[in-house]
C-alpha cells in the first residue's frame, strides 16, 4: 500500500492572462451574447412591423443621413486607437495605454455629441407610430451601450493614471477594447436598419 499522495503543485503559476484565457473575457463575451440577442430581437421587431405596413416609413420621410453617416465614420475610425490601446495594454506599456485610453475617450465623447443630433434627425417621434417607436428604441438601445462604455472607460482611464497599477489592470484595458468592438459592430447593423432600410423598396 502506497501512503504517499500525488500532488499537483501550481504555486508558480502566472496570476493573470490575456484574451480568451482570462475569466473576464468570458464574462464580457456572455454580456455581448445577451446584448446581441437584444439587438437582434429589436431589429427583428423592426422588420416585423415593417412587414405590416404598406409604406415605410408609414408617413413622413426617412431619417436624415448626415449625422448617422458621419457617426458611423467616426465609430469605424475609433477602431484604430481602440486596437492600438489593446496592443499597448498587452505589452504592459503604461504610457502607451494611458495615451490610447484618452484618445478612445475623446472619440467616445465626439460620438456621443453627434448622437445627440442623430435623435433630432430621425424625422419621427416615438409616439407618432410604431415605426417611430421602434426607430427610437433601436437608437436608444445603442446609445445606452455607448454611455455605459464611455463611463466604464473613463473610470478605467482614471485608474490607469492614479494607480495602483497591476498586471490585471492591463487585462481590464484589453477587455474593454473587446466590448468596444461589440459597440462598433452592432452599430453597423443598427445603422443599416435605421437609415438604409427605409430607403430600400419593400
Amino acid at each position: 500500500m502506497n501512503d504517499r499522495i500525488r500532488v499537483l503543485d501550481v504555486s508558480g503559476l502566472q496570476t493573470y492572462a490575456y484574451g480568451h484565457r482570462s475569466l473576464m473575457w468570458w464574462g464580457t463575451l456572455g454580456m455581448i451574447l445577451i446584448e446581441s440577442t437584444v439587438f437582434a430581437l429589436a431589429i427583428g421587431s423592426y422588420f416585423y412591423l415593417r412587414g405590416l405596413s404598406v409604406t415605410w416609413p408609414p408617413h413622413g420621410a426617412p431619417p436624415v443621413l448626415t449625422y448617422g453617416t458621419i457617426n458611423t465614420g467616426v465609430l469605424l475610425l475609433s477602431a484604430i486607437p481602440n486596437q492600438w490601446t489593446k496592443h499597448q495594454a498587452e505589452r504592459e506599456n503604461l504610457r502607451g495605454t494611458r495615451i490610447g485610453l484618452v484618445i478612445c475617450l475623446v472619440f467616445g465623447a465626439i460620438f456621443l455629441a453627434i448622437r445627440g443630433f442623430e435623435f433630432g434627425a430621425l424625422q419621427t417621434s416615438w409616439n407618432t407610430s410604431a415605426y417611430g417607436s421602434i426607430v427610437w428604441a433601436l437608437l436608444l438601445l445603442h446609445t445606452i451601450h455607448l454611455v455605459t462604455d464611455f463611463i466604464d472607460s473613463a473610470v478605467l482611464t482614471v485608474l490607469m493614471f492614479t494607480g495602483p497599477i497591476s498586471g490585471r489592470r492591463f487585462v481590464d484595458v484589453s477587455e474593454n477594447t473587446l466590448y468596444w468592438w461589440f459597440v462598433v459592430l452592432s452599430w453597423l447593423f443598427i445603422y443599416a436598419t435605421i437609415y438604409l432600410a427605409p430607403r430600400m423598396p419593400p
Binding site: 499522495i5 500532488v7 503559476l13 475569466l23 440577442t37 410604431a130
Partner: protein, 644 residues
C-alpha cells in the same frame, strides 16, 4: 524530499471566512450562503404563490361561489403564475446551480462572486415589489403572459401592469447574471483533470440552461420594456391603430416563454441523472446520449414558440413547422428516460430513498404531461382545447412533474451537503405520497373539465354545467398538496434542529461535492481534488492540487476543453457594494414605473455605486501586487509525491 505542503486550512479560513455579524451577512459573496438565501426566498415565494392557488381552488370548489370576486381572482391567477415562474421555478433551479456547480467542478467560489450577491438582491427586491403591490391591491391582473391589448394602456389602467413589467426586469436581470456566472464557472474553473467528458451531468444541465437563459430572457425584457413604454410614454409598439401589432407581443413573449419551460425543466433532468446514478450505484448509462439530449432539447426549445399561438390565425405552413418541432422535442426526452431506466436496471442494489421516490414520481407524472404535450402539438386538437383546463392540466403535469418533483428529490439528496444534517426519511415518504396523491387528485380532473369545455381564468361557473364534483375533487387534492408542503417544512425545521449529522458523503456519491465536509467550509475545498474519471471520488488514493496562494482569495483557472491549470485568478472579497448597487438599481426601476425621467436621474446613483464597486481597496491592491506572477515569469505546474 519535497517542500510541497498541503494547504493550510487555518490560513484559508482566515482569508475566506466572512466578516462576523450582520454586516458580514450583508457583505458575503460566498456562493453557498447566497444559494441558501436563494433557496429560502424562492421557497417562501413558492409557498405564497401556492396559497394564492389554494384561494382559487376554494373559490372554484362549488358553483356560483362568491368567496372572491372577478377582480381579485384576476390578480390571484396572474400573481400565482408570475410568481411560480419568475420568483420560484427559475431562481430555485439557478440557486441549485449556484450551490452545486462550483462544488461539483471542485472550485472555491462561483465566477464573478460579487455579481452573484448582486443578482440575489435584485431578485429579492423584484419579488418584494410585486407581492407588496398585491397586498396594496395593485397586483398584476393580465395573466402571467400579460397579452396585449388586455395589458395595454387601454384595458389595464393604473400601475398594475407596470409593476408586473418591472418585476420581469428585476428577475430576468438576476437570472441573466447567474447564467453568465454558471457558464464561466463550468467552463473555466473546473478542477484539473475534469475533461469535457468528465463533467457531471448536473453541471451540463446547468450549462445548457444558462445558454438558454442568455438567448431567451432578453426577449421578455425587450417585450416588457416595449409594453411599459407603450403605457408610460405612449409608444405604439402594440397599438394596431398606429402600425403596431398585438401579435408582436405574443411572438416576443413566447420566444422567451417556451424556452422558459425548458429552462425550468433541464436543470431538473440533471438532478434526476445524479440521483439515479447514486442510488443505482453505477455511473449513468449513456453519458454521451444524455449530454447530447440536453443540448438538443435546449436547441429545439427555441423552435416551438408558435405552438402557443395556434389559434391566432398564422399561415398553415408555419404552423406545420411548429407542430413538427413540438413532436420532435419528445425524442431527446425519450432518450433520456430510456437511459435512466437502463441505469436503474443494470445498477447495483437500488436504494429506495426519498430522493429516488421523487424521481420515480417524476417519471410517472412527467410522462403523462409529455403525452398531453404531444396531443397539444396538433393544431386541430389545440384549437379545440385552447384556453381550457386541459391546458392547465397539461402544463402542471409538465412543470410540477418535470421540475418540482425532481427538485424535491434534489432537495432531499443535497440537503445534507447544504446543511450538514439529514432530513427524516420517514417524513420524506409522507411528503412524497401526499404530494403525489394530492397532485394527481388536483390536476387529473382538470383534463376532463377542459375537454368538457371549462375555460381557464374564469372566477366561477354555473351549477348547470355539472362541473362541481370534479372541481371539488381538485380542491381536495390541492389541500392534500398543502399538507404535504407543511410536512416538508416541518421536516426541514426539525432536521435542522435535531437531525442526524450527515457526514461528508451520506449517500456514497461519487461526484466532487461529496469530497468535502457537510456543510462545506468557506473555501469549498482545502486542496482541490484532481479529477481522474467521471466518478472522481472512486479513485484511491485521491490526487490533489496544491500551491494556491493563501494570502488572498484565489482560484485556479483551467482551460476550457481539457481543464489543464492555466493561471491563478483572484477571487473577490466580501463587499457591501453589490447591495448598495442593487438598492440604487431598485430606485431606478421602481422610479421608472412612475416617470420616464427616472432612467436619467436614477442612473446617477447606480453609476456612483458601480464605481464604488470596482474601485480597488488598498488591501486588495497590496495583496494583488504581493501575489502577482507575470505571464513571462510563470512556472508550469509540477507533479510531486508527498507523504511518509
Amino acid at each position: 524530499m519535497s517542500t510541497v505542503q498541503l494547504q493550510d486550512k487555518r490560513a484559508l479560513e482566515a482569508v475566506w471566512a466572512d466578516p462576523p455579524g450582520f454586516m458580514g451577512w450583508l457583505k458575503t459573496v460566498d456562493h453557498k450562503r447566497i444559494a441558501r438565501r436563494y433557496f429560502v426566498t424562492a421557497l417562501v415565494f413558492f409557498a405564497l404563490a401556492g396559497l394564492l392557488a389554494l384561494v382559487m381552488r376554494l373559490q372554484l370548489a362549488r358553483a356560483d361561489n362568491t368567496l372572491v370576486g372577478p377582480d381579485l381572482y384576476n390578480q390571484l391567477f396572474s400573481l400565482h403564475g408570475s410568481a411560480m415562474m419568475f420568483l420560484f421555478a427559475v431562481p430555485i433551479m439557478q440557486a441549485a446551480g449556484i450551490f452545486l456547480v462550483p462544488l461539483m467542478v471542485g472550485t472555491r467560489n462561483i465566477a464573478f462572486a460579487r455579481l452573484n450577491a448582486f443578482s440575489y438582491w435584485i431578485y429579492l427586491f423584484g419579488g418584494l415589489l410585486i407581492f407588496v403591490a398585491f397586498v396594496l391591491n395593485i397586483g398584476p391582473e393580465a395573466g402571467w403572459f400579460a397579452y396585449v391589448p388586455l395589458s395595454g394602456p387601454q384595458y389595464s389602467a393604473g400601475k398594475r401592469t407596470d409593476i408586473w413589467a418591472q418585476m420581469i426586469t428585476f428577475t430576468e436581470a438576476a437570472s441573466l447574471i447567474v447564467a453568465i456566472e454558471l457558464v464561466v464557472t463550468a467552463f473555466r474553473l473546473r478542477a484539473p483533470g475534469m475533461l469535457l467528458r468528465r463533467i457531471p451531468l448536473l453541471v451540463w444541465s446547468q450549462v445548457v440552461t444558462s445558454f438558454m437563459v442568455i438567448f431567451a430572457m432578453p426577449a421578455v425584457m425587450l417585450a416588457s420594456s416595449f409594453l411599459i413604454s407603450d403605457r408610460l410614454v405612449s409608444t405604439q409598439f402594440y397599438n394596431p391603430a398606429e402600425g403596431g401589432d398585438a401579435l408582436l407581443w405574443q411572438h416576443l413573449f413566447w420566444f422567451f416563454g417556451h424556452p422558459e419551460v425548458y429552462i425550468i425543466f433541464i436543470p431538473a433532468l440533471g438532478m434526476v441523472s445524479e440521483i439515479i446514478a447514486t442510488f443505482a450505484a453505477r455511473p449513468a448509462f449513456g453519458y454521451l446520449a444524455l449530454v447530447l439530449s440536453l443540448a438538443v432539447t435546449g436547441f429545439f426549445a427555441f423552435g416551438l414558440w408558435v405552438h402557443h399561438m395556434f389559434v391566432t390565425g398564422l399561415p398553415p405552413a408555419g404552423m406545420s413547422f411548429f407542430t413538427a418541432a413540438s413532436l420532435v422535442i419528445s425524442i431527446p426526452t425519450g432518450v433520456q428516460i430510456f437511459c435512466w431506466i437502463a441505469t436503474l436496471a443494470t445498477g447495483g442494489a437500488i436504494r429506495f430513498t426519498t430522493p429516488l421516490m421523487f424521481v420515480v414520481g417524476f417519471f410517472f407524472i412527467f410522462i403523462i404531461g409529455g403525452l398531453t404535450g404531444v396531443m397539444l402539438a396538433s393544431v386541430s386538437l389545440d384549437s379545440q382545447v385552447h384556453d381550457s383546463y386541459f391546458v392547465v392540466a397539461h402544463f402542471h403535469y409538465v412543470l410540477i412533474g418535470g421540475a418540482v418533483f425532481p427538485l424535491f428529490g434534489g432537495f432531499y439528496y443535497w440537503f445534507p451537503k447544504l446543511t450538514g444534517k439529514r432530513l427524516s426519511e420517514r417524513a420524506g415518504k409522507w411528503n412524497f405520497w401526499l404530494f403525489f396523491i394530492g397532485f394527481n387528485l388536483t390536476f387529473f380532473p382538470m383534463h376532463i373539465l377542459g375537454l368538457e369545455g371549462m375555460t381557464r381564468r374564469v372566477y366561477t361557473y354555473g351549477a348547470d354545467t355539472g362541473w362541481t364534483p370534479l372541481n371539488l375533487l381538485a380542491t381536495i387534492g390541492s389541500a392534500i398538496i398543502a399538507v404535504s408542503v407543511i410536512v416538508f417544512v416541518v421536516n426541514v425545521i426539525l432536521s435542522l434542529r435535531r437531525g442526524a449529522p450527515a457526514g461528508a458523503n451520506p449517500w456514497n456519491g461519487t461526484t466532487l461535492e461529496w469530497g468535502t465536509s457537510s456543510p462545506p467550509p468557506s473555501y469549498g475545498f482545502a486542496d482541490l481534488i484532481y479529477v481522474g474519471s467521471r466518478q472522481p471520488l472512486k479513485i484511491t488514493p485521491l490526487a490533489y492540487v496544491t500551491g494556491l496562494p493563501t494570502r488572498m482569495r484565489t482560484s485556479l483557472a483551467t482551460t476550457l476543453a481539457d481543464a489543464r491549470p492555466d493561471h491563478i485568478t483572484p477571487d473577490p472579497n466580501p463587499s457591501i457594494w453589490p447591495l448598495v448597487t442593487a438598492l440604487a438599481v431598485t430606485v431606478l426601476f421602481i422610479g421608472s414605473i412612475f416617470t420616464p425621467w427616472a432612467l436619467i436621474w436614477g442612473s446617477v446613483p447606480v453609476t456612483i455605486a458601480l464605481i464604488g464597486w470596482f474601485w480597488p481597496t488598498e488591501k486588495q491592491a497590496r495583496d494583488l501586487q504581493a501575489c502577482e506572477v507575470k505571464p513571462e515569469e510563470g512556472r508550469a505546474p509540477r507533479l510531486v509525491e508527498i507523504g511518509p
